[in-house]
């Protein structure tokens, strides 16, 4: 048993900053176990001030390259809330279908590129290609199909262009809906194969558990992604989305440049695990079957299983999309866009981004120009919970080697997949 532990996982720059993991233990006593967030502020709430209502979604979609559809959708919903625009059920279904394409993209990437290397004991996806070529090819094929799905509905894979306040700029044709239905039906067995590969190695995920408060959207009769009210595992009552500031209770802490959040406890969790714990009974039949296959019970309190729940959500997304497409193939939305008047207003909205519940609020003046914004992203809501997990995990694994302690901590962070550095991806090279 190591009496002394010194772990420093640091990222190199602030501008492309991630979190840091810092652990200190002396004579078997943990002195420090911290998840630190050193990223520079991004200022998106300032970027949107002074912009027209129809420019906002294009700006905020650049917050994240992985979940740009979620950021666009929530901004558009907030504009619609401010201008009191009601969409038809058909258009809301098409929005949900578009949102699902991103959910599949992101979940497949997370499980395939970030989690799978841990399961097969390699350092990244590059050596995984060498050792498990067939598996990686399946993951890439699923990801490509999800991207093409986004291309069709959102106009492009990342940073969507066809979703606008009031509806869409374009509705796919009946033939395009039929083709999409066929492609998604073909994806189900492929996704099943990927799930079975993950299942075969799922015992590599640590058995750590810690109960916390779980927060997600909830709506009767549906596993909520696109719409709903705010639910928590600590209360029976739902909270309206326009009161989201009372939920997040943002605060600052010296170990982070990002704001953290807490509601009824020291911290709460958002993401796939929270959605599952609050909405499990609304999963599609196939998703319930997969949950059973992975041995997930009524409540899952192991944060490492977040990625397993993401796979279960992939089954739900595919199965529910097929059901919606069966309607759209015969009865596509009649109108692409609702008419509306630009008025002064205060609009708030929420969607479930792949990493958890996401809130936006905007104020508009009578010309439809944004005068203030408040954006609350899932990762910031999860930072405090990740810190509490780190505090609980470290003492329980101090008997392991320092290398293994570091590995388990890094796997814990990866389970959350914190969205803290989508701002830049520049090359940094040396000529050889």
């Amino acid at each position: 048993m190591p009496k002394n532990v010194k772990i420093d996982v640091h990222h190199v720059t602030r501008i492309e900053g991630h979190g840091n993991l810092v652990v200190r233990a002396t004579d078997g006593v943990v002195e420090k176990a911290e998840w630190q967030v050193p990223e520079a502020p991004r200022f998106f709430e300032s970027f949107v001030r002074g912009r027209r209502w129809d420019e906002v979604q294009g700006v905020v979609s650049r917050i994240c390259g992985i979940c740009s559809i979620s950021h666009s959708l929530v901004a558009i919903k907030a504009v619609e809330n401010a201008f009191k625009i009601q969409l038809t059920d058909e258009l809301n279904q098409l929005r949900t279908l578009t949102h699902y394409s991103e959910m599949l993209q992101s979940h497949v990437l997370h499980v395939g590129y970030l989690i799978a290397p841990d399961l097969f004991n390699v350092k990244s996806v590059v050596p995984l290609v060498e050792t498990h070529l067939d598996v990686v090819k399946k993951i890439v094929a699923l990801h490509r199909a999800a991207n093409e799905w986004s291309d069709l509905l959102a106009g492009r894979t990342t940073h969507p262009i066809t979703i606008v306040p009031g509806g869409f700029t374009r509705i796919p044709t009946q033939r395009e809906f039929r083709d999409l239905h066929k492609r998604l039906a073909d994806l189900v067995p492929l996704a099943q194969e990927v799930a079975e590969v993950v299942l075969s190695a799922a015992d590599k995920l640590p058995g750590f558990t810690r109960e916390t408060e779980y927060v997600a959207l909830k709506k009767k009769g549906i596993y909520a992604f696109y719409d709903g009210e705010i639910a928590t595992s600590d209360l029976k009552e739902l909270t309206p989305v326009n009161q989201f500031e009372k939920v997040v209770n943002e605060y600052v802490t010296p170990q982070s440049t990002a704001k953290w959040a807490r509601w009824h406890r020291d911290s709460y969790a958002v993401g796939a695990l929270s959605r599952y714990n609050l909405n499990r009974e609304e999963l599609s039949p196939l998703a319930k079957k997969w949950a059973l296959m992975f041995g997930l019970g009524e409540k899952v309190i192991n944060p490492y299983l977040n990625s397993v729940v993401q796979l279960v959500e992939c089954a739900h997304v595919l199965e529910h999309s097929l059901a919606m497409l069966e309607n759209m193939m015969t009865r596509p939305p009649k109108e692409a866009k609702m008419g509306f008047k630009v008025v002064a207003g205060n609009g708030s909205a929420s969607v479930e981004a792949p990493r958890g519940i996401l809130f936006h609020r905007y104020l508009f003046n009578e010309d439809g120009v944004c005068t203030a914004a408040n954006l609350c992203i899932p990762t910031n809501q999860n930072h405090g919970n990740l810190q509490k997990d780190v505090e609980a995990l470290v003492p329980s694994i101090l008997n392991l080697s320092q290398t293994d302690i570091q590995k388990y901590l890094e796997m814990l962070v990866r389970a959350y997949d914190p969205c803290v550095s989508c701002s830049t991806h520049y090359l940094d090279v040396k000529f050889v």
């Binding site: 991630h18 979190g19 740009s68 890439v140 990866r414 090359l427 090279v429 000529f431």
Partner: protein, 155 residues
């Protein structure tokens, strides 16, 4: 069927010179004499999406902001094999990314293009804010000529 070419840009227009790729793509979209076989692709902030822009293509040119040890505004055309990455990624999140690692993955998967070329542009300013630095803005025309010359002659 004849294989197509592509120009793929990465970058964030709200991080100063990091957005040089998307800025150049917007200019290219107005260019009247682009070859018909050339696709313009903006992968935005998601490097992993760029993987799908390679397969089945003849030539792909990536345009990206690059720390190369040159003067701000300098640009350099190079092949992936001519450089080593200096990026240290703890792999804590999908949100970090390295173009060179993505290109290597594509190659190992057998899903790369016949030729991959990178046009790196040394930034002057990478920080939150819209618009390019004056250093890079004043050279957009020069970068454009470099880009177009890539597709004037067959490989």
């Amino acid at each position: 069927m004849e294989k197509r070419d592509a120009i793929v840009v990465l970058g964030n227009p709200f991080m100063g010179d990091e957005g040089v790729g998307p800025a150049l793509l917007e200019i290219l979209r107005q260019e009247p004499n682009l070859p018909a076989s050339l696709d313009l692709i903006d992968t935005g902030g998601n490097i992993l999406n760029a993987l799908h822009s390679l397969s089945g293509r003849r030539k792909v040119l990536f345009i990206d902001c690059a720390l190369m040890g040159l003067q701000p505004g300098d640009s350099l055309r190079f092949l992936p094999a001519e450089v080593e990455t200096q990026k240290q990624m703890p792999r804590l999140s999908l949100h970090e990314g390295d173009l060179l690692q993505m290109l290597e993955t594509a190659k190992l998967l057998g899903q790369s293009a016949e030729q991959v070329v990178i046009l790196g542009i040394e930034p002057d300013r990478v920080e939150p804010g819209e618009g390019l630095s004056p250093t890079l803005s004043s050279r957009l025309g020069f970068y454009l000529q470099q880009i177009l010359s890539e597709f004037k002659n067959p490989i």
